[in-house]
Symmetry: C2
Subunit: 333 residues, 2 copies
């Protein structure tokens, strides 16, 4: 395991210190319990949007804290759910009187801890709604969850829901927008290599030098199948077919096409995959109205990619285009 770290115990804390130092204009970091809030939190009268999950998926979620996206992020230990006290503290820190939305990826620990925190926050008089993201079409149940896992659509829901909140829409509307994004979005990923959790000191799983795993989860949990490595065209076709047939996406749909890197894959390869995806979408009569290419929901240094497609309508396009200013996504301001 080769990593630019000090002690494994200190990685997340030092990462957060680095983020605080690098992005003082955008965010503040609170330690013990750990959470990140936008620099001007709480924003009075605005529904707040909070997400979180295990660390190791950066820039998700901390890189999305700022104007027009998340009010707070709760980073757990690497690949470990944040605790209820973290989530509760973040919820209280960003509540501006208009309630707080929790965006939760569907992993058993995350769902349980966000629910517990929501109950505690409600007990203190804060309105809390939650949306659970479960866009991964690869498998029905997995190592860390019942039902489908939440993956790439989470990035899009945080941007789009965050924009709705920034425009002053009420909590229920913001939650509704995020539910629509989850309902209209689908994802699937693959890995060329494993990753290594700092504490474990060794790869999470073994993958032979000539094999890949299709349908991998973002913690390295098993996917659908292992097979010999194929071309980018064949890999993209496999992932895209699963995603496209699931919703299903149909001729004439406008979509947001998101090609995501798992952390160890260079941008060059993501554009090669995007090129294949664009060809496949054109062949199916889909119009890629918006796109995103880069490493936004990662698995440490895993090599691989995931594809996410989101069916768009005018409302979602307007919210996607709205200004955002975070460490990892920034436009219009």
């Amino acid at each position: 395991m080769k990593k630019l770290i000090n002690k494994p115990d200190d990685v997340v804390r030092e990462e957060l210190q680095g983020m605080a130092a690098a992005h003082a204009d955008l965010l503040r970091v609170h330690f013990d319990p750990d959470y990140i809030v936008r620099a001007d939190a709480p924003v009075r009268g605005k529904a707040a949007v909070v997400s979180g999950g295990g660390s190791g998926h950066e820039p998700l979620h901390g890189g999305f804290v700022g104007t027009g996206m998340l009010d707070a992020a709760c980073p757990g230990a690497v690949f470990t759910s944040p605790t209820p006290d973290q989530i509760l503290a973040a919820t209280k820190a960003v509540d501006g009187g208009a309630g707080v939305l929790h965006i939760v990826k569907n992993y058993t620990g995350d769902v349980m801890n966000f629910e517990m925190a929501a109950d505690l926050a409600r007990g203190e008089g804060i309105r809390v709604e939650a949306v659970v993201m479960n866009d991964d079409v690869a498998v029905q149940d997995s190592l860390y969850t019942a039902g489908r896992r939440g993956v790439g659509v989470t990035v899009l829901a945080e941007k789009i829901g965050g924009a709705a909140a920034e425009q002053g829409r009420p909590l229920a509307d913001v939650a509704g927008v995020c539910r629509k994004v989850n309902a209209q979005g689908r994802s699937m990923g693959m890995a060329l290599t494993s990753c290594a959790v700092p504490h474990a000191g060794k790869p999470t799983f073994d993958l032979p030098a000539d094999e890949m795993e299709i349908g991998i989860g973002i913690h390295g949990e098993p996917g659908r199948t292992r097979m010999k490595i194929r071309s980018a065209a064949e890999i993209t076709e496999m992932l895209a077919r699963s995603v496209l047939d699931d919703l299903p996406f149909v001729r004439g749909d406008a979509v947001l096409a998101f090609v995501n890197g798992m952390g160890g894959t260079p941008l060059m390869e993501l554009y090669v995959v995007y090129n294949e995806l664009a060809r496949i979408c054109a062949g199916r009569g889909l119009w890629i109205a918006r796109s995103l290419v880069g490493s936004y929901i990662t698995s440490l240094e895993m090599a691989g990619c995931s594809l996410t497609l989101l069916k768009l309508d005018d409302e979602l396009i307007r919210l996607w285009d709205a200004p955002v200013r975070t460490a990892a996504l920034r436009w219009g301001m």
Copy 2:
């Protein structure tokens, strides 16, 4: 070698097709010869800024084409200089009558081919100036160049010089700003792992499982020394000391601190390194006025990082903060 590609021969072309498809609002790609221009090129009356180099360092340079940064980028084959005809064609395509600045990284092939293209362009009546970036303090001469190599400061010169051009400043001024950035910036990198050029099909160099290379070049060319892997604190200290002592940076300086990932290193680790760098700068009495953390000048999937420090003044800060809209850097618009 595990990569998301089709045939090695087609990687760069397919990558460019992917970029063209993903970023039609920002840029256009011309094939045979290959170059990328901003969507509204040529901009009449504006000095144009052109850069280029081997592919495999993305987002450098194509990801920086757009308003407020590069007018054109010339991508060579992987780790191979662009040809004079590519550079000439790009230069002609973006000349808006106010001349063209070539930003060239100091590698023998790049310098030679940009010079040849500049001569040919001048022969066609286009004013061309060139600035050569040579900010890498690691080694004096290297595998592909005489003198110091051009690395991270190139990213900063393209942003800052691009902003000066966007504001309508004359060619000589834009060149002067880039020369100042080069003169006031220093970089050094390190690698935890090698990378593999698609055509070669095997790692560019061998690095034992418990070793790292300090002072690595962005093509995997040799650095200063190999040693057993150390902590992020020790690695950052080694790189930062070399960078800081070279200019030298002195107590009271305002700096831009840039922690760059080599392509295969997750953001988590870059923030751990940034945290160490911020501590070191504070200890030396330097004020980090601006920062950049991410993978902006890469070496395919190499794991590792580089540090760049740029001594700032009011002019450079204003130009850094100016609006930019490219695939890889975007703010204020």
